[in-house]
Structures are given as C-alpha cells and as structure tokens.
Symmetry: D3
Subunit: 293 residues, 6 copies
C-alpha cells in the first residue's frame, strides 16, 4: 500500500528516489520536430521507462546488478513543441546542472539533434572531450533544406566545436557523398558498416580520456529496431551492440556521459525496440556510470 | 527542473500528491488471468494514465475543471500473477482502507472480476448499496468451465451478496439464455442494448441511495472501443456513454465509488480505447466524486 | 467435396458433425483474385470460424440458441488461385449439391463475385427468386477494366439472369453514375445510404417469395468493419445491420440461402470485423435457416 | 504505355494536368512540428492521394462526377522541417498565388496551424471573409506552453485578424475553460458536440458572403477517424460530416477556399481515415469549388 | 481427451487422422495465466496450426518429407482459465496417456510453466531423463512474487526433480544473479548467449540417453520472434536454431519428447513468429520423432 | 512552386523526366492474383516509390550517386485484376518496348510470376541469356493445384525456355522434394541457404555473358523482410544481400535487366521491408545499369 507518499509511477526500473545520493541522472529529451522523415521519437523515453518493468536487474554480460549503481530518473525535460532553438537551450542548461552536481548524464531521445546541446555542455566541463558516435547516419550535414538545427547536423556541429579529430563514428552506412568527403579531409574517424571490430582498435587510443558516447538506435538493423524514424537496411545486430557496450566498459577510457536516441515506438507494434533500448540503458548504467572521472 | 524531489512519473493527469488531502483515490487492478478469450487488460491502467497527458482539464459536458476535485493516484495494486483468490483478497483490503479514510474509490481494470471484491468492500460500508452496471455482457454466470472465480461471474456474485433487486444492468447484448432467465426470475434489472433511456427511468428510483457504478468498456461498440478482450458488435456510441455519465452526475443518487474495466491496449493500435477511457475517467471524477455520502 | 465425413478443420462454433442431419451448410469461398483495390478476403472464412469460439450461443435479439438449428460446416471450397472462371464453376457445383440435398446454403466470402455462381445455382431451383443485397457498392458494372468476371459485376450479372426487378439493394453509397442510371431504367431497386427503413417497406412486397440474401460487410461503416477491401465512409452501424437481420427473420419472406462476404482480416488488427461477422452469421443461422421453403 | 512523357504518379485521382485550365488547386501542407501530442500528419496529404485511386468518381450524395470540375494537384509545399515561422510564410505565399490566379485553394494538412496562413491570404482577397470551422477542439489558445505558433492557436489568430464574430465553430468538444469563455465574450459562435443541425441554422445568415471552411478530421469520432493526432471520444459520424458538406453545397454561401487537416496515417492500420478523407475531398471538390465568387 | 476420434478442429498440416496409428502426438497447452509480463501465448498453438498451411512438406535441411512420419494432432487441452494448479495436473495426465500409448509427445505452449508437468510425466517413464533447454531465460526461480507456480520456475522445478546435473540450458541471456549462482553450485549446465557451438560439445556426452527438449521461442532474438511475451535483445538467429535442431537430429541421443512454447501471436502483426514456429515444428517432427526409444 | 507543369508525384526518387534520355526504366508490375498464401504485393511498387523519399542519394557501398545514372520511372503497368494470362502478355510487350529502345528494364513486383514474361522478352533479345535467381523458394513447380500460371512456377518456365543449365538459384530454403530432384537432374544450379559465397564461385563462370537477375525479397529472413507473402525462417541478412549486389556490380558479367519482387506492405507495420527494397533498388541502379551490353 502506498498511501503515505505520492505514487512514483513510470520511472526507469530501480531508479533511486534521491537526486542528491545518485551517481547518475536519467532524463528524457522528448523532441522530434526537426526530423525530415518519420516523427514519433518524442514518445521514446516514456515508452522505454514503461517497458523497463520487464527487465531483469542482473546483467549476465557484465555480471553486475542494478543495485550496484545509484541513478535518479528526472523524467522528461518539458521541451516546447516545435521550437528547436529553445529546446536546445533548455537541454544544455539541464545538463549543465547535472554536471555541476558531479553526476553522470544519461539521456534518452528524442531525435538526434538533442545530443548537440549535451555535447556543448560536456565540452565546457571536459575540454579534452572525445565523442564516440554509433549510428547508421553520418549526421554531418551543415544544414538540412536550409535549417542548421536539424536531426542531420548534430555531429557536424559537435565536430566544429570539439574538433573533428576527436569524433569517432561507427556503423555508418548512410550519408551524402559530401559528408563522407568532409569527414575524410577533416580527420573525423568513420568506421563504415561495422562497430565492434573498429571500436576495439580505437579504444586503446582513447585510454584515459573523457569520452561522451551517443548511440542512435538505428545503428541496429531495422530487423532489430524497427521502431525508429529512419529504418535503413544493412545494420548491425543487437548482439554486436551489446558486445560494443561491454567492450567500452572493459576499456581504459573514462565515460563521462551518454545518450540513446531515436526510439520511435509507434512504428514497432511488438515493442521490441523499446524493450531493446531499456536493456541497452541497463548495460550503459552498469558498465559506464562508474567509469567517469 | 525536478532535482529536489523524485520525479512522479506516469500518474493520471493532475493527480494530487497527497493521499490525505484527496477526496478520491484512483488505483489500478492489473489482473487478467481468468479471462476466457483475449487477455491483456492488465496493461489497461498504465496505458490510461500514460495517454491522460493528452486530456484537456476542462469538461464542456459538465462545465467543470479537474482543479475542482482533489484525487490521488495510488498506482497499481501489485497483484500476484495467476492467483485469482489472492488478487481478490488484496483488492478488497485495498478498498477497505480507502473507505475507512472516507475517500471515493475510483478503480481501473483489469478484467471485470476485479469489481467483485470492490463491491464486497462497498457493501460492508453501505448496507443499502445499489449497483449500476454498464456492460455488453450479463456476467451472471455461476462459474465458467468449473471456475467460480471468472470474469463471467462478478455480477452474479454481487447479486447474491447485495440482492439481485439492487443491481441494474444497462446495455447488455450478450449472455447465456440461463443468465437472462435467472435475472428475470430473481428480479435483477436488465436493459438490453440501450443505456441512456432506461437509465433515465431508473435513476429517480434510486434517489438518495448509495450507488456503486461499474462500467465495462465493452458496453461501447467495438468501433468505439476495439481495445478490449471481447469485442461484441451492436454496442452504444461513446456519445451515449458520455451522456449517461452526465445524466448520473445530474441525478439525485449518491455515487459512492466506481470503476472502469476491460481496457486491453494491445488490440488497439490507434490507442483510441485508452484515450476514450481517460476521458471517461475525467468525467467520472468531475461528475461523481463529490456526490458521495 | 467433403460431405461424407465431418470436415476436420477449424469449424464454426457448435457446427453439427453430420451433413446428412443438418438443415444448413456453412462453407467458405476463399477467393479474392479479381478485386481492384485491397485483396485479403480469402482469409475471411477461416478467421470468422476461428473467432467464433468467443461467441455466446444465445441471441438476446432473437431469443434463440444455436442448439435449435443444425448446421454443418463444410470448410472452404478449394478454389484455384488466380483462376476466376474455374472458381466460379466450382462454387456453382458446390451449391447445386447443397440444394439437391434440400439444405440451406450459408456462404462466407471471399470477394463479392462469389455470390454470382451461388445465385445462378439458386435460380435453377427457385425460378421465382428475389435477391436482397446489402452493400456499400452497386456492383452493377458490366465489366471492370475489360474483365467481366470482377468483384464489381456480380449484381449486374444476377440482374441479367433473374431480372433487375427482382433485385433489391440497400445501403448503397458508391458506384458509377452509369450504374445508378441503369438501375433506374431497368427497375432495379436501390435504397441509398439506409438499410432498415427501406427494408421495412420492401419486405411485405416479397411475402411468400423465395429470397436469397447477400451481405457485403462493407455495408457497415468502416468504423464498424475496418477489415475489408474497400473501406467507404458513410455506412450504417452494426446495430442497424443486426436489426435488419431480425426484421427479415420476423417477416413473411422465405429465405432460401444467404452469404456474408468481403471480410479481409489483415486490415483489422483488433479483429473486430471478424468477430462482428461471426455474430452476424449466428443471427443469420438463428433467424433465417428455418424460414426456407 | 507512358513512355512519351513523365509518369505523373501519386496525384489525387482525376487531377487535371494543367494549372492554367483548372478551377481549383489541391495542395499538401506536410507540417506537424508544433503538435503537442502525437505527430505524423505530415504524411496525411501523400496518403490521401495514394488511396484516392480507390474512389468512385461519382457522388451519389451530390449526383455529380469529378469530370465536371477541373482541379490541379500541385503536390506538397516543401516546408522546412521544424521551422514553424518559415513554413507559415511559405504557405501564405503559396495561397496568394492561387488566389491571384483566380482559383479555389483546397488544402490538405498537416497540423491545424497550417490553416492560419491560408486564412491570412484569404482575408487579403476577401475582407468580408467568414470562416466555418469543424473540429473537436476550440483551437483558441493564445499560446501553448509559451509558443504562439502552435496547433492549438490557429482559430484564435484567425479570430483576431478577421473578427471573432466572423468565425463559426461546429462539433467542438474539447478546450480550456478560458477558451470557451473568451469565445462567449468575444462573440465567436461555438456549436458544442453537433455539426449538422447548428450548421443548418447558421448557413442562411451567411448567405452571399465569402466563406472559408476548415475541417479538422478529428471532428469525427475516433471510431470514424482513428488516424489523427488527438483522438477524442464523443465526435460525430462520417455520415453527419458528409451531410454537412452537402448542406453547405446546397446553401447560398460562397465557398472561396477550404482545407481538411490532421490526418495522421500511422495511427490507423486499416487506412480508413485516409480513405474517408479522400472521399471528403471528393465531395468538397464536387460541392464547393464552383460556389466561389 | 479426444484420442478416440480425429480432432475436428484446425489441425497441423498433414496430421494423421488416427491416434492409434501415429508415432507422435501434437497437442496445445493454451495457458498464459502466470506470466509476469505480456500474456497472449494461449493463442500460440491455434495460430501455429493455422499458418502451417503455408508450409512446404519437404525439409531441405533434413532431406525428409512429412509423409515419412505419422503424427496425430490432438488439439488443445481445455485448460481452466486462471487455475494454474488444475491446468498443470491436466497436462501431466494428458502426457501420461501419450506415453502409455508409446508415442512421442510434441507439445505447443502456452507459457513455459507448461513444460513442468510434461517433464514430470516424462521422468516417471524415463528415470534416466536429461533435459535440453533452449531459452533466453534461466527460468530457475523458486517462486515469482510469492507464487511457486510461475512461468519463471519450471526449470528449477525440473532440476529439483531429475537433478540439476541432468539439465542443459542453452542461449541463456537473462535471469537473476541468484539463478546463475544456484546453477553453478548445483551443477546445472548453462551456455550463455550461444546455442549451436555448446550444443555440439554437450551432445556426445548425452549419447544413448533419453532426452526431453524444451524450446522457448524467445531463445531467438526478438528480430526473429517478435511475437512472444518477453522480447529480450541479443538472441540467436533462426538459422542457428534450425541448425541446432538438425544437429540434434544427427546426434546419438534419444529424443523422447519435446515442446515449443511462448508464441504469443498478438505481438507480431506480420505473423513471422507463428510461421517460424510452424517450420520449427516441422523440423522437430522430421528430425526427432523417430529417434525415441 | 510547381504551377507551370503537372506535379510529378510519387516516382522513385531522382527519376529522370525523359524516357528518351534515360538509360534504365523502372516499372511496377502490380499483380498478386496467383499467390497461394498471402496476397498484397500489388501495392509493393507504389510503396517502394513512396518511401524512396527517405533514401540518401549516395551509396557508401559503391561510392556512387544517383546523379550518375539516368533512369525513368514509367509507373505501374495497368494489369487487369484477376487475369493472369493477359497480365503476363502485357508485361512481355512492355519489356519488349524497353529493350527495343536499348534501355535497362528494372521491374518491381508484384508476385514472382511477373518475372516469367520479363525473362521471355529478355531471351528474345539475348539468346545467350543466363538468369541469377535469389529466393527462399525454388519456384520450380510445373503447376500449382492445376494452374500452370502460378507464383510457384516462374523459374521452371524460365528453365524450360532458356535451358536449366543457364539458371543459377541462391539462398533457396523451401520447395517440394520433386523440385530439388528435378533441378539436380536437369542441371539447374541451386545454392541452398547461402547467397554470397556460392555467388562468388558462380560469377566468374558467367563472365562476359548477358545475365538477368531476379530477386525475391523473401530470400531475406523474415526478420529483415516481414512484409512479404510467404515468410520463411532461416534466410539471409540484408547485409549479405547488399554485399551480393555489390559483388555482382564488381564482377565481369553483363547485367541486362533485373527485378525485385514480392514486397507486400500490409504485413509490415514498420515499413522496414519497403524501405529496404528502396535501398536495394538504389544499389541495383548504381551497380548494375551501366553493366549492360
């Protein structure tokens, strides 16, 4: 019976009730207004929380349990529908506060543009920041049909801020010719099609550095993540993605923040995408939070 | 920013944070283990809460706003999967507590069997209790394939407890011949096919009495509520059901508790059923809670 | 032909195991190869049988039970995929046998073209035959893009065989201008948009005559029957269609056969269309079978 | 064989190939970035065109055929994703051109905000403009969570431009208390819950005036239009909406432009909403285009 | 029990009409009342039978045809909804009879708890029994929220009956820490994540022994089996599972019975899960039935 | 603004407006009337075009852009519903014209039978023709339930026309025993289960020869292509299929035409199948068109 306190409803399973005592903060960025194809990722964070009740608390991959990490679920940031600039500003301020409090930000999108303000905030705290980016798409456009604030531009913006040589993209299988060429010239690392093997090569080079990791769920093949805006054939399996998360957990880098974006529940009647996302979030909590500086 | 307190996530829109200060208590009864056809109503309460964010707070039907009533969302009762007897006992105890505290119980199912323990609890407090029952089905079976605890039996059980002459069923369009015959002999009122008109005749007779109201969402035609276990053609429109709720609100009966059951989200891709249910809950809050004794 | 032994397949609820002893024969005509828009009605009969397990055996509309009528479920006629002419011939022969045996043919489509060979067979036995036709569409085309064997032509063919003055169409809301004009000139009765009221006017004129009744499920509004090939707004409710079936049951006509066609399950995730169809079949059995000459 | 000219693919059925020779212009406004609940209406216009191939060209409601009106399908306006202000400006300019050419603008949304720039353009040409608005929602907010450019504000903006006494809303069943109160004070006509009857009263008062008509598909009950962003129970039937369109066609008002908005195909697996919308567009073409001044 | 006559219901393709003459008996265990997450597997057996009409009768994997094995489809055991204990007792008695008659039991679930009574029955006949278990989950809980009869406990119960050292689990990727630890201590073999390779190592050790094989469809990744209660990322492909079935067919173990459980059709709109299950059943029939002692 | 010319709506992205100037011609063959299981592929071509707007124009697999090839989209051939023979004749004539004009035919199905008339047309122009066939099914039946024109027979017919030794099938995992045996005897090459590796062996043998390539989307596992008529577990990944297309692009064969068939959108709510097909078409355009003689 829960009559003595407010029912704390739909939160990520095993969230800790106190922000102060937590090591990490989970938060949703329910924004999808700049996507060029199929919207709907605004409902990603809520659905990921909802299905997290079906999760086991123990990871046989990492041999750890959720009880070993304290994380607070701050809910969704109340972003203003249709206003990209104000949304981005609000996200940056939100993450600033998490970082000030010395906690690990673990964001859930929403469209990929939400990673841009997070990386801005991270960079203010970690000038030596590197970014690991897993995605089907380069996201290196300068603008999309005239709009610089677009789901196709966040990695380009990040590259211009922290330096393209500090960005490492994996699993890429889609983009404009210009994007690939720019990456090559600028020295931005792109591993086409694969994630695990190139990651094993890159991780040692990043040893000791603070790294932010952004995962677009569409790095998975649509077979493994049909519930996303842009389904693009030829992706990796969820087994490979789980292995990549573990590989990072066992590496010598410092993970200082992370996000998982572009889960759009309405396109997936079986809800496998949201369930997969909730499992990935569990592994990110167990494997990464305590690796921060 | 919500860093100072736990994020109170998926609750029915505008719920009051304090049980003590509230007039009504919303609670889920996530049980579907005795249904004979399609299960899934265990997820009804969670989905109704989730979509309630899309609700307007004002009712142009009743010209009232949610701010005018204080209600606490107690979440779902943690019922033991597959154990009907223990589930029923837990529900009865839960409602006992709400009644002891002098509050209005507003339950969300779950299969219809959940109404049986609620009515038991209501009857202990209100010996003069009458029940208004809106449903496609009589639910008057003695047992279903040998099981007395079944989604087909709650109204029969209630009739045997409080007397069949105190039960008033509306919108009925399905049942065994024996059920209709027993109702006739026992003096249990059944209005076949229609709700609003017969209700207008019955309400004056119940003036001044304490009445519990149980609504099975399948009283609506499947066109208006495809997301339910047993879809049965020939039902009423959501307009008629909304009108019936208002008719009760304007009558001279005392509503002392209510429930809305059998929303099974998985059968309704458009989520119209959960959205309709959340609107019905709003009207029940605005129209009924302050009519209690 | 499987008349000598019980069809061992998915059967309609409460089917009688003996062809010999039965008054009526239920059969499927799983054909959808001439439809111009969305195919899928070939799976209609199987799905209607499957969901019939959810039906009550008693009708509160007619106050009768399935035990009061003996009907045999002969399964689906094994029609050759993609061959309209051979399919039509097989259906005609199949119905010939049912009629020779003195039984009531109750067919399930499949596309509406299947009614054409049935009516041919009926007419051989009943030269005084009239046809009641409930549908969204006139189905009076001479051909469809050059094909005379099309789901748009069965009523025209029937009219040319038995005389347009013997055909009575109800609920029509779609067709070519030429079709409506031809009907007017030829004396074929068309009640636009409505079913129940015009039917009440027509039935007395048909008293004592043998009547075949063909119902296209799309006479219902798509809200009530989304699972069909051609969804066309502005149709009747399932309440009105149920009332029409009862009206016929209480009239003085002789119903000598009937069909229900165009249920296409794949377009209806909630399965309300198949469930509605199975309820309609129940009412047709209870209300019509024992009215035959 | 179509080798001699470009295949003109997905256009509304029977569109005329020449802009110059046409009386009306159909165009899509594929925008959904300011919606507060479920996005997806950006794909409405494309899907309405696609399913229009299933339409009959003749209307038995109006006894007219599509051949009797010449209309050009201009495709979708290429609106910039996520930029509400620029989108609105582009729409206004687009409609300006249609009006300059003396043609009837027939728009398809997209979210309801798209009607705002259209009405601005209409008002420049018709200073005596009245607006008929059919919708579940008042859409009279001044802003939504701080954003004045929102799908909840278009009718308020229109009212402030052309005068609230020139706006006539029908079928309204949702809104904030403040919106209803403002309407009352300002003299903006609102018919709650119903469309046809109040319309019959209002039309004579508008005789001879230029009227723009905007229909939000959610004026229909979700049973009849599940494929929309905000499903709100208690709406009208598609029969009533078709009758309302005909009522206007037979009235003495001048219809000078119209739109149909908020069709969001992803929420409707049966595609009944898009099919219904395409039928409504047909009736609007046949009934309204030649009533313009 | 329906062994005396052919089950006249939806049967698995090419089933033999005589129980007496058959080597194997297919039966459904339509129970899902103890599942903690998503119910619906009660409809698994019926849907697997229904889609089996799409199967080829020949296996290019095993180079055998269904004509080479005689199997009887006994239909679904009529289990009492919501009563776990009685359901389990009925299943055990049902399998007892199959074993008495010297036939191979091939069961279809239903939730995984159904395997527990089957293994009890098997063990009475084969005291030297080993169990091969392919699953995403350990299913080794002692109880689930107080209920010992739960879909999370069957393998634990089996282990306690036949000895943990006689149980071999493959593909496991989910469970409580305690379950993995108990398995380790107790000597219950668990191959994490993989099936084929560890199976190739285990099979020689089981040569000559009677083995019961239980496959939970969720051993497949959700990409390959979205239609199940608990979708858990990181599973094997259907190619690997097909190879595992063949590997067993070519091994020196005696397969004495088998089941395939947890197909829940409602979560898979494409019906790929049921189609895959029907193919797996075909391979189990062709590869395993004639390996029994 | 597109007022000066007709809007050329739903065409494959970046299609060239002139047939004369194009190297290749894309065309749809919207036929599904002979399929024995689930129809719906008639809508495949339209949906593939529609979702092609989500495609990137650049291929990182082939390092080429769509601008480098000129292709005309001729729309769908208007095939007569339900008439297999006439449909086949129309397709053959259509392809004859494309070949006469010296262009590359790139067809989209529709059921697999459509490949038969295309191959007939190809063979008239290229007497030395070989066929590469990727499919789950042999498609080598002589007839299907009496019908020689069936979706199960096209490769047999092709084999009889051009000689079985000129046909090379890959990825086959389903068929009758007789089909595999006939292939063996006749010398028709079948690579079971795999595509890429056997293709690498076969391609050198075909160097310099004109080759037509037909891909049935169901060569992919249902996980990767749920939207097809016959979902058959155990298929290849989309990664392998993309690699196979590239392998062919880099080989020394002359590709003289190709098709992609059996996309049936209604079975895939996420639309991943149509999106995958549109990506495959892009790769076929970029990799194959300029390899023709």
């Amino acid at each position: 019976m829960r009559f003595d306190e407010a029912y704390s409803g739909n939160v990520f399973i095993k969230s800790h009730p106190s922000f102060e005592e937590s090591e990490a903060v989970i938060y949703g960025m329910p924004m999808d207004w700049t996507v060029s194809y199929r919207p709907g990722s605004r409902f990603g964070p809520a659905r990921i929380r909802e299905v997290s009740i079906g999760l086991e608390e123990y990871s046989p991959y990492l041999d750890r349990e959720l009880d070993e990490v304290k994380y607070f679920d701050a809910g969704d940031i109340p972003l203003p529908f249709g206003n990209a600039q104000r949304s981005i500003d609000m996200i940056e301020q939100f993450v600033d506060k998490i970082l000030e409090a010395g906690k690990f930000p673990l964001g859930m999108g929403g469209e990929h543009l939400v990673s841009w303000p997070v990386i801005k905030a991270m960079y203010k705290k970690y000038p030596n920041l590197a970014v690991i980016h897993m995605d089907a798409h380069t996201d290196l456009r300068v603008e999309y049909e005239g709009e610089p604030l677009s789901h196709s531009t966040p990695i380009r913006k990040a590259a211009e801020l922290i330096g393209p040589e500090n960005i490492f993209s994996f699993g890429i299988r889609s983009g404009m010719k210009e994007e690939f060429e720019w990456a090559k010239e600028a020295g931005l690392y792109i591993a086409k099609f694969e994630v695990l093997k190139p990651l094993q090569e890159v991780l040692p080079k990043l040893a000791g550095r603070p790294v932010y990791i952004t995962i677009d769920i569409d790095v998975l093949d649509p077979a493994f993540a049909p519930g996303t805006g842009t389904v693009d054939a030829g992706g990796i399996t969820s087994k490979e993605l789980l292995a990549a998360i573990c590989e990072i957990a066992r590496s010598d880098i410092h993970v200082v923040g992370a996000d998982l974006v572009e889960v759009a529940p309405v396109y997936d009647h079986s809800e496998q995408t949201a369930n997969t996302a909730s499992k990935l979030i569990r592994e990110m909590i167990l494997g990464w939070v305590q690796k921060r500086i």
